[in-house]
């Protein structure tokens, strides 16, 4: 009887202590998760390799990015690692192009890269014969007077600004 009278409050105290500890831990976890979501970098950065953690073959392929590597965001590092994994399967002329363009591509602004990707997607939608023709069209375009090229550039910029304004509404 005495045991029952004492056991009741003890069990209650145990349950209360368990709830407090679990609440504190879960609260701590949620706060940390919220912090990490706000930064977009912290959670994944521990999984994204630093330059010295790359494999020797990856370091060789990505050598043009060596100086900038530590400043690249986690997603961009993972993207370059993915490209380095595909690299051995590419033809030698494609490998050479990647090596030549890598540093310039990495130094572009996000908007420039986005515009280039959009253009690439548009070209990819073309039938094969048209796709091949784009290369010749580029050479043809380069022969145009500078003023004409600037007019087209201004028109394109206007279209992009209009599209951006529509997206923001």
């Amino acid at each position: 009887m005495a045991r029952e009278r004492i056991a009741g409050p003890v069990v209650f105290a145990w349950l209360a202590a368990a709830m407090i500890v679990f609440s504190a831990v879960i609260g701590l976890s949620s706060a940390k998760a919220a912090d990490s979501k706000a930064s977009h970098v912290k959670p994944a950065s521990s999984h994204v390799p630093a330059w010295r953690q790359l494999r020797p073959d990856q370091r060789r392929i990505l050598a043009p990015l060596r100086e900038d590597w530590e400043n690249l965001e986690p997603q961009r590092r993972l993207k370059w690692i993915e490209i380095s994994n595909r690299y051995p399967k590419l033809a030698s002329d494609e490998q050479a192009r990647i090596q030549r363009r890598m540093k310039a591509w990495a130094s572009l602004t996000p908007d420039q890269r986005r515009a280039a990707r959009d253009f690439y997607r548009d070209i990819e939608k073309l039938p094969p014969e048209k796709k091949h023709e784009v290369r010749h069209k580029w050479e043809e375009y380069q022969q145009l007077p500078e003023g004409t090229k600037q007019q087209y550039a201004a028109r394109q910029k206007q279209l992009e600004d209009q599209a951006a304004a529509q997206d923001s509404h």
Partner: protein
């Protein structure tokens, strides 16, 4: 009225009058009471704060019992709780990483196409070329 009832009334009257047993008897009674409490606590297997006859707060239970019955389980519970929290955080980080990796693969597919393309990088960045090409394709 029977003898038992009479006897109990006598005891009640005596208790109401008050007992002056003297210091020595009072001390012996207090010691006996405390011993009884210790035995009771040992048989109940719990440790609770109680008021002693002198009015001071004392903890029931030996240090070993206090350690094994309260401190140790609470410590184990805290370790389990923190372990669970760490496991949960690791899972969240892993999920975020996999999501990031998936997005990186999708972008790598396109970037690899641009970087290996026969078309020079300048062509992809020339806004005039994009507009002119569109104009040309519409004219055809």
């Amino acid at each position: 009225m029977n003898d038992e009832l009479k006897f109990s009334r006598k005891i009640r009257d005596l208790l109401n009058e008050g007992l002056d047993l003297g210091n020595e008897k009072n001390a012996r009674l207090r010691a006996i009471r405390e011993q009884a409490l210790v035995r009771h606590r040992a048989s109940a297997g719990v440790c609770l704060p109680v008021r002693s006859g002198r009015g001071s707060l004392a903890l029931l239970g030996t240090p070993e019992e206090f350690l094994s019955q309260l401190v140790l389980p609470v410590a184990i519970m805290i370790v389990i709780a923190f372990g669970f929290g760490a496991w949960q955080r690791a899972g969240t980080q892993r999920a975020q990483f996999l999501e990031l990796q998936q997005r990186a693969k999708e972008v790598a597919e396109i970037d690899a196409g641009v970087l290996t393309s026969e078309l020079p990088l300048d062509a992809y960045l020339d806004e005039g070329f994009v507009a002119w090409l569109e104009n040309e394709s519409q004219a055809q």
